[in-house]
Subunit: 331 residues, 2 copies
C-alpha cells in the first residue's frame, strides 16, 4: 500500500522550538470521497506565525493539536478529484500541512496558474506573505511619495515585497536585515534605497545615517532592539504596521518603553493579521501577481529538500537562517 | 495708571511643578494699537497639556518661555478694539494667558455667544476639551452601537464629554475615576453605565466586573496602572485613542509591556492632539454646542478665585484635585 509520510507535533516547546518537538508518522495515501480531492504536495511553506501555534497561550491562531499533522500552507497537484471545482493535474494552493499528500473537501484550496508564475511563488510573493505585505503597506502605512518607509526583515518573504511596493509608490525605502549579504541583496537586487545591518555594532548610528529625513512608516516584522531604535527616528504622524515580532517569539517580549511617544509624535500603531481581511486578497494578488509575471517584483527562496527537513527549517526561519521565503521541497 | 496683574514662569520644575515655579508681575493695562484688541479676561483655563510646556524636553507643544506670562486659554470681554472683527462688549475666547488683560491682533480669538451658553463653557465642553473628546471618539474610536467604550478621567473636562457622546451613539460606556464621589457623578449625572474607582484596592476585579463584554474602544487620558488593566480586557480590533497620560507627567513613564497584544488582539493605538485637526473644530463645536444648549450634555466645573490661584490650580489639576473642568475666575 502506498504510504503518506507526515510530520506531527509531538510536544509543545517550553521556550525554543526544536526538531525534537516533532516526530514522523505515516498513513495510507488518502483516497478522495464524494466532494473531496487528493493533492500531491510539491512545496511546504514555513512561516513565522507557526511558532505561535505551537504554544497553547492565547493568540490569534488556534493552537496546533498535539499528535496531529503539523498545519501549514502548501502547493501541489491534484491527483484525484471527486469535486467539480478541481480536476487531476490542477495546480493548487491550500493548507495541506506537513505531509506528502493532503485530503480535502476543497475548502480553502485554489487553483493557480503555474505557467506564468512558478508554483512555489504562490506560497510567497503571490501568496499569503505577498498579501500581508500589500495590506500593511497600503491599508495601514499608506505612504505618500517622498515619505520614508522602514522595513524590518527586509530580505524576507514579506519585507522584500513591502519595500518594492513602497518604491513603486514613490516612497524612500530603508530596510533592516541581518548581515552584509542580506543587506547587499536588499539594496542591490530589491532596489531599497538603503539597508542597515542589525548585527552591526554601530547599528544605532547607522540607522541615524540611513534615515536623514526620519521615518514616516514602519512595517514591523521583528521587534526587539531594532524596533526601539526605529521609534527614536519617527516623524510626526508616523504609521507603524505590526505584522510580526519574531525577535520576541522565543525571547523576552518587545515593550514600548514610553507611551508618551503617541502624543509627542502623534503616531499610530496597528497590528494586523492578513486572514482577517479576506476581501482584499483578490485585489492584492492581482496587483502583486502582475508585477511578478512582468518581472517588476523580485523575490528569493531558501529551499530545503524533503519532508524531514521541515522541523529544522522552521527553527532556522525563526532565527534568521532563511534568505527570502523559506520552503521545503517534496517533489 | 491702571495695572495688569500677570503670572510668569520663573523656573522650570525639576520633577513636580509647584507654585514656587511661578511669580507675580504687573504691567500697565495695554492699549490697542492699529488692528489690535484688548480683552478683559473673565476665566482662565487650566489644562493638563500645560505641564508639558513647562519642560524644555521635546514635545508637541512649544516650551513656555521663562520670564514670560504663562500661556493658556481664556474667555473674556473685548474692552477696546481697533480691529474690525471685534467690538467692545464682544465676548471672546482665545489664548490670553495668565493675566487680567490680554492684548492681541485678534489671531486665534473668536467671538462667542454667551447668552445661550455660559461664557466659562467655551473653555470646557464647548471649547478645546469638548473638541478633543469629539475628535478622539469619532475619528479614532468610532464606536458602533452596542460596543463598549472605556473612558479614563471620566469626570474630567474631556472624559465627561467622551462618555456622553458615546452613549448618544449607542455604545455602552464605562468610566474610570478617582474616588466614590466622582464615580457617583459619572454614573448618576453623566449617565455612564458604570464607573470604576482607580483608588480602590480591588480595582482589577472591579474592572473585570464592570466590563463583562470586554472593551472595544479606550479613550485614554491618564495612563499608568489603570491603563495596563484596561489592556487586559481588550477585545479583538479594539481602538485606543491616546489623548493624555497625566499619571506619567510627573512620575514614571507608562510602558506598554508587550507589543504582542497588537497581534493577538489586532489593536490600533493612535495618539492625537486636537490642534492638529483644526478642520473638524466647527463641526465638533456645532454638535457639542447644540447638545449643551439643549441640556443634553452635562458638565461640571471647579472654579478657583483670582489670578493668584492659578499656579496651585494647575498643581491640583495634575493630581486629580479638580472635579470637572478646572477654571480660575478673574472677574
Amino acid at each position: 500500500m502506498a504510504m503518506n509520510k507526515q510530520i506531527v507535533l509531538d510536544s509543545r516547546p517550553s521556550e525554543k522550538v526544536s526538531p525534537a518537538n516533532f516526530r514522523s508518522a505515516e498513513a495510507p495515501v488518502p483516497r478522495a470521497g464524494e466532494g473531496e480531492i487528493v493533492v500531491r504536495q510539491h512545496y511546504l511553506s514555513l512561516d513565522p506565525y507557526m511558532r505561535g501555534r505551537l504554544s497553547d497561550a492565547k493568540s490569534y491562531a488556534k493552537p496546533q493539536e498535539i499528535g496531529a499533522v503539523m498545519g501549514g500552507g502548501a502547493v501541489g497537484e491534484v491527483v484525484e478529484s471527486k469535486n467539480a471545482k478541481f480536476k487531476p493535474g490542477d495546480f493548487v494552493v491550500g493548507m495541506g500541512g506537513w505531509q506528502q499528500f493532503a485530503l480535502s473537501d476543497g475548502a480553502g484550496w485554489n487553483v493557480v496558474d503555474a505557467k506564468s508564475i512558478p508554483l512555489s511563488a504562490y506560497l510567497g510573493v503571490v501568496g499569503m506573505p505577498g498579501v500581508t505585505a500589500w495590506y500593511g503597506l497600503n491599508e495601514i502605512i499608506a505612504p505618500k511619495p517622498g515619505e520614508t518607509v522602514l522595513v524590518s526583515a527586509a530580505s524576507g518573504a514579506v519585507g522584500g515585497v513591502v519595500g518594492q511596493l513602497a518604491k513603486l509608490k514613490g516612497a524612500k525605502v530603508v530596510g533592516v536585515a541581518g548581515g552584509a549579504e542580506k543587506c547587499g541583496y536588499v539594496t542591490g537586487q530589491l532596489g531599497f534605497d538603503a539597508c542597515v545591518d542589525h548585527k552591526s555594532a554601530r547599528f544605532a548610528e547607522e540607522m541615524k545615517a540611513a534615515l536623514p529625513d526620519g521615518i514616516d512608516g514602519v512595517f514591523e516584522n521583528v521587534g526587539g532592539e531594532p524596533f526601539l531604535q526605529a521609534l527614536r527616528r519617527l516623524n510626526d504622524f508616523a504609521r507603524i504596521a505590526i505584522c510580526g515580532l519574531i525577535a520576541s517569539y522565543e525571547a523576552a517580549p518587545t515593550a514600548l518603553p514610553d507611551m508618551r511617544i503617541f502624543l509627542v509624535r502623534r503616531i499610530r500603531i496597528e497590528g494586523f493579521i492578513v486572514s482577517d481581511h479576506l476581501k482584499i486578497w483578490p485585489k492584492a494578488l492581482a496587483e502583486v501577481g502582475g508585477l511578478v509575471a512582468s518581472g517588476k517584483l523580485k523575490y528569493r527562496e531558501t529551499v530545503r529538500e524533503g519532508l524531514d527537513a521541515a522541523p529544522q527549517a522552521l527553527v532556522d526561519l525563526l532565527h534568521g537562517g532563511n534568505f527570502g521565503k523559506m520552503l521545503v521541497k517534496l517533489v
